[in-house]
Amino acid sequence: MTQAFRRAKGGRIDRSRTLSFSFDGKSYAGHPGDTLASALLANGVHLVGRSFKYHRPRGILTAGSEEPNALVGVGRDDAHYTPNLRAPQVELYDGLVSESQNRSPSLTRDYAAINDVFWRFIPSGFYYKTFMWPKKAWTKFFEPRIREMAGLGRSPKTPDAARYAQRFAHCDVLVVGAGPAGIAAALSAAKTGARVILCDEQAEPGGALLAEPDAMIDGVSAAQWLQGALAQLAAHKNVRVLPRTIAFGYFPHNLIGLAQSLTDHEGERDDAKPRGRLWQVRAGEVIIAAGAIERPLVFPDNDRPGIMLAEAARIYLERYGVLPGQRALIFTAHDGAYRTALALHRAGCEIAGIVDLRPKADGPWVEAARQAGLEVHAAATVTATRGRLRLTGATIAPIKGGSAIEVACDTLLMSGGFTPSVHLFSQSRGKLVFDATLDAFLPGAPAEACRVVGSAAGLASLQEALESGAEAGGGGTRHQAANAPVAQGGFIGVVPYHGDPGAVRAFLDYQNDVTAKDVMLALREGMQSVEHVKRFTTNGMASDQGKLSNMNALAIMSAVLHKPVPAIGTTTFRMPYTPVPFGYFAGYARGELFEPARRTAIDGWAAAQGAVFEDVGLWKRARYFPRGAEDMHKAVARECAAVRQGVGIFDASTLGKIEVVGPDAAEFLNRMYINAWTKLAPGKLRYGILLREDGFIIDDGVIGRISDTRFHVTTTTGGAARVLGMMEDYLQTEFPELNVWLTSTTEQYAVIAVQGPKARAVVAPLVEGADLSAEALPHMSMVECRVAGVPARLFRVSFTGELGFEINVPADYGQAVWEALMACGQPHGITPYGTETMHVLRAEKGYIIVGQETDGTVTPDDVGYGGMIGKAKPDFVGKRALARKAFAAQTNRKQLVGLLTDDPALLLDEGAQIVADPTQPKPMTMLGHITSSYWSETLGRSIALALLRDGRARTGERLHVPQHDGTARVTVVSPVFYDPEGARLNG
């Protein structure tokens, strides 16, 4: 198709190349430098979307990121599909595939447009007032229908193919917006030697200068000046210019979030390249040069395809060489639209007239229009428009009343003036001040180190923009603009239109179909706060976040409530300035890099053996080592039997380890753990329990005394960092008088547990410098020696109930020592076992796991460890809390017990609840719950641990455990199922 509305010359597009693209399955042509919007307009396509609620046909309204109507889905396939993109922001590339949204079956014939016929029945908030009867119909019928009707684009159903990057950066000056003010600021700041980042949301820096054919700056044309300025910036080592980069969020302490689009503009040809990059920039100072956004005028049926903002039309003409239509009516309260009219007139577009709301149309712009022969209707208004899929005409009338004129036109270009973009400044918590002459909120006192320059600060002229930017940059630079007369004026609220306000729709928020009458309805219903009006009508809640609609809505509220605009207030500006893909935030943190897994030194060996792993905190731990076709049950049964009858080997490296060193190390542990440490002799081990200050168990682990002044503390796998943080807290802030140093050694040691009656036979041959006999190294003692030639801390300790050793060696030697032990154990049938077998074996012995038998509400006495408390100690963390009278007086606490099912083959579900009477009505009285439940190969039956109210006194009692498939009968027993005397430990 030919580009019928493309001019033969002019603009910044490259006519030497033609790009082909499709919209709704139809092919069109455009040029490099085009956006999807400019290319569609060049082809005469205005109808591009349907609105949210009424499914009204909509055209392209703006030329920027504030576009509310022209939202499209773009992407060559589902893995590259993005909905809701703004057509003026989509850069054209060859082969671009796009489609319209929120219509079925087609853009021109949309069934849901029936809503538009019944619009009178469905004003703002109608859904709060109906769909309540019958009760079930809401969920079953109404809600699904409403959901189907709502929404805009469709989500892809294929995982995203793209990658994303992230970067942190620091700079002295961050300039947001590369229009004249921003470029002047960057040039000026760069001159001081400051590190400068200049970002701009568009593909090409320049802002308003990209559509500026007339003005001169510093003696050259604006385009030449821009080229020179950008070259100067590029030559500065300290300046980084980021195009296609939106400053979306302003966070405390001058942290700015930037979203940089990298490959969308070339159609994401290569998935290996990152699609976008999230920048987190900490700036010494932020200069906001974000520009201003043109406001629509609010008049009846101001939303038809062909109705566009005046400045947007001029941008399409000057920057893209595109005419918006053949015959344009101008409707304005601002001089800028005259500039558009003159430019279009010169370019060959017929001007059907200029309707100016201002009582007196005068000034240089108006004069110029009149001299060009354009008809100016002063003190006039537009009271109606016509045309369904494209504008065909409008009605003009004097504001005071009188005879109306019907005008034929295919385009209506409007301007209500400009709203400064104070979003980022407001996000920074800077105060906004209402300027009654400009009808705009302007930046007031800042809360962070930031300044606002150019039209974002309400400065209307090019000269002021350049000056304010240069001054903010601090480099003493100066610029002189010429041939750039200031354009003034503006209007907020609903224009006069001589009709019944309840009977027409004058759109405020185009996307959400919020009209002036909706705001009036909200006020009538008592919603008098600006936030209530916003939430009730959804004005400002569409994807442009009120950029086009907020000021007009405030003006309506102001008029109805008879309060000045600043007394109404404004809604809070929130990040992001424009929508940012989730993928930018997720960045590198995906798949393996989403919370990278921690792996032990023996992990590779276990993986090679076919181990099945489980996640424990951030660690990957080998859960079991299946042989052949074994399932977990069979593998674990075999592994358990091997440990009980022969010898097993287990990777315990994930245990947290903290080296506690110093003259006061024992005293420090006295104050932290419930146990007594002073008398523990060097070379001995003790099981320690750590409480929170409120008396509940937070961690446990075996602690070895290496020497008078040195302890080797172990913690739970998940608790290592928490325990170290807690110890540091007490050491640094409560007990600073203690001379103690804490060092995390979790990653430094590999820990290999060799457990079973034959453990000594496996370990002993590899040990140099230590006697492993029961006499020399009894249970709960340790020795420093060499194992397989590697320096080791050898613990005689058991979490299985069998004779056992835990060998701590430097992590780098972990796998070598492991393999040496495997080789040495081969004749003894050494069997690697995983966490599941470890759990079964410890449960048979009634050893608790913190986090499984305890849940943050369990005291040492609850789990039967009350006897470990160092009674003579004046203080330890948690002691005082346990001693509170009301606490100590509690009865009926849950205590650790064992449970045996009547049916030895029945395995209870972990988490199942215990009741005395399973037939009682709900809610039932629950006595406790199953914390651990396993098949014990050793005992040939199932076993379970439980926390049970007053449990120790219930030994022998018969209780019930309701489960999904029937109720189990159980008997309360001791939690130690196996070798209660501990004979095997001491072997």
């Binding site: 684009g153 986090g851 988490g911």
Partner: protein, 417 residues
């Protein structure tokens, strides 16, 4: 009260909706009330409503420093569920869920309660143990909650990624089918309209600046930016700002206030049929009636009243969302906001009397207050009217911290091995 119905809508349509009356009045505060509620969120407005409707106390004022529903009521991710572990919590939240089920009809205001089901995702053995403990406990408490395999979870929520190779693979899920979401603003407005119709004065832009007490220490009224107002019963329902209000009565609270942020995507056609929560990787997501994906983040690390969250917290949440739902990686954040939640040491609320006679408090809901709105409001009204807690909220008293009778839902789900 002007009844809402399809017929009423039709009638209004014929007169261009010019006959709709204000949903609540904008009264000047009177000199004295029988009861005052400080805080015009869902909890406070609801308490006023139940005081008037169930306890015959209609001379009630709700004092709101800003606009009603502007605090956490209007800032949360609207998740409603009752599958809490401890008996006390299950009873409390299930009482609320029972009231949610009839709330639109009770208030004649469609609060769009959508029982879409809440799916809580387990990622490891510890999660499974914890969730199954919830499931069993809930079932015996009469609270629906079911355990699903990863495949069943995927069938219930097709966008869910259950690939075994995921960094935190989905190992199962607990599903409460009665759970879901509601339209948060409508809850505040619905209660306000119904309370107003029963005579309650809803006074906005009225900040409480002091609490008056007589020589015996009993509450006699409040000082406000709109003058002194007398009352011998004052209920504080000022989530986020509770510590500040209670300090006016000389009370220190076991509370800290943290920022909590949430965000929404641009509107999409229906793609997400339920609510999904993953505590392990911190992701909470549903889709609103408008089509936005509604995503909740964790609280920020530090005490703050700034009503904004840090970028790295939102970033972490979206990392998790993109892992669980890789089809949403290209969807875009449209709006992000923050609220202030007050958090107790055991993460359970405080709902009852205080050491100051005539002063009652409803606070400490942390990140989960919205779901309790009707239940908490009802029980708070009962406590104020009778000067005695209802059996359901009796355990949630202020004394439990001294007595060590914590209701520690957070600790019960704590991760450690």
């Amino acid at each position: 009260m002007q009844r809402y119905s399809a017929l009423a809508l039709l009638k209004q349509t014929l007169q261009n909706h010019k006959g709709w009356q204000p949903q609540w009045r904008d009264p000047e505060p009177k000199r004295a009330y029988d009861a005052i509620i400080i805080g015009g969120g869902g909890h406070g407005l609801g308490a006023a409503y139940y005081l008037a409707r169930k306890h015959g106390i209609r001379n009630v004022a709700v004092l709101e420093k800003g606009w009603i529903g502007g605090g956490n009521t209007g800032r949360n991710t609207t998740i409603i569920r009752s599958n809490y572990l401890f008996d006390e919590s299950a009873a409390l939240y299930d009482h609320a869920l029972d009231l949610w089920e009839g709330l639109s009809q009770e208030l004649n205001y469609n609060v769009m309660f959508s029982q879409r089901g809440v799916l809580m995702i387990a990622h490891n053995v510890h999660d499974e143990q914890s969730f199954k403990r919830h499931v069993y406990s809930n079932r015996l408490n009469g609270v629906d909650n079911a355990w699903l395999t990863p495949e069943q979870a995927k069938a219930f929520c097709p966008p869910l990624n259950i690939a075994p190779g995921m960094r935190h693979a989905v190992t199962g899920a607990a599903l409460q089918r009665r759970a879901g979401t509601a339209r948060h603003d409508a809850v505040a407005w619905g209660y306000a309209r119904a309370a107003d119709a029963l005579g309650v004065d809803i006074i906005q832009n009225c900040e409480v600046t002091g609490i008056d007490r007589d020589a015996s220490g009993r509450v006699t009224g409040v000082q406000t930016t709109r003058g002194a107002i007398a009352s011998r019963k004052v209920g504080v329902s000022a989530a986020g700002s509770t510590s500040l209000v209670m300090e006016m009565a000389g009370l220190r609270m076991p509370l800290e206030s943290y920022p909590l942020q949430a965000l929404v995507s641009e509107p999409l056609k229906p793609i997400f049929p339920c609510v999904v929560m993953s505590n392990t990787i911190h992701a909470y997501i549903s889709q609103s009636d408008k089509g936005e994906l509604v995503i909740g983040a964790g609280t920020d690390a530090y005490v703050s009243y700034s009503q904004r969250g840090a970028l790295h917290i939102a970033t972490h949440t979206l990392e998790a969302i993109c892992e669980l739902f890789p089809i949403f990686r290209r969807m875009r954040m449209m709006r992000n906001w923050g609220g202030i939640v007050d958090v107790t040491p055991d993460r359970s609320p405080i709902l009852g009397k205080t050491p100051v006679p005539g002063l009652y408090v409803n606070c400490g809901w942390g990140t989960g207050g919205f779901k309790a709105t009707p239940g908490a409001a009802d029980l708070f009204a009962h406590t104020i009217a009778r000067d005695d807690p209802h059996p359901i909220n009796a355990p949630f008293n202020l004394e439990r911290f001294g007595a060590g009778r914590l209701i520690d839902e957070a600790a019960a789900a704590a991760v450690a091995h």
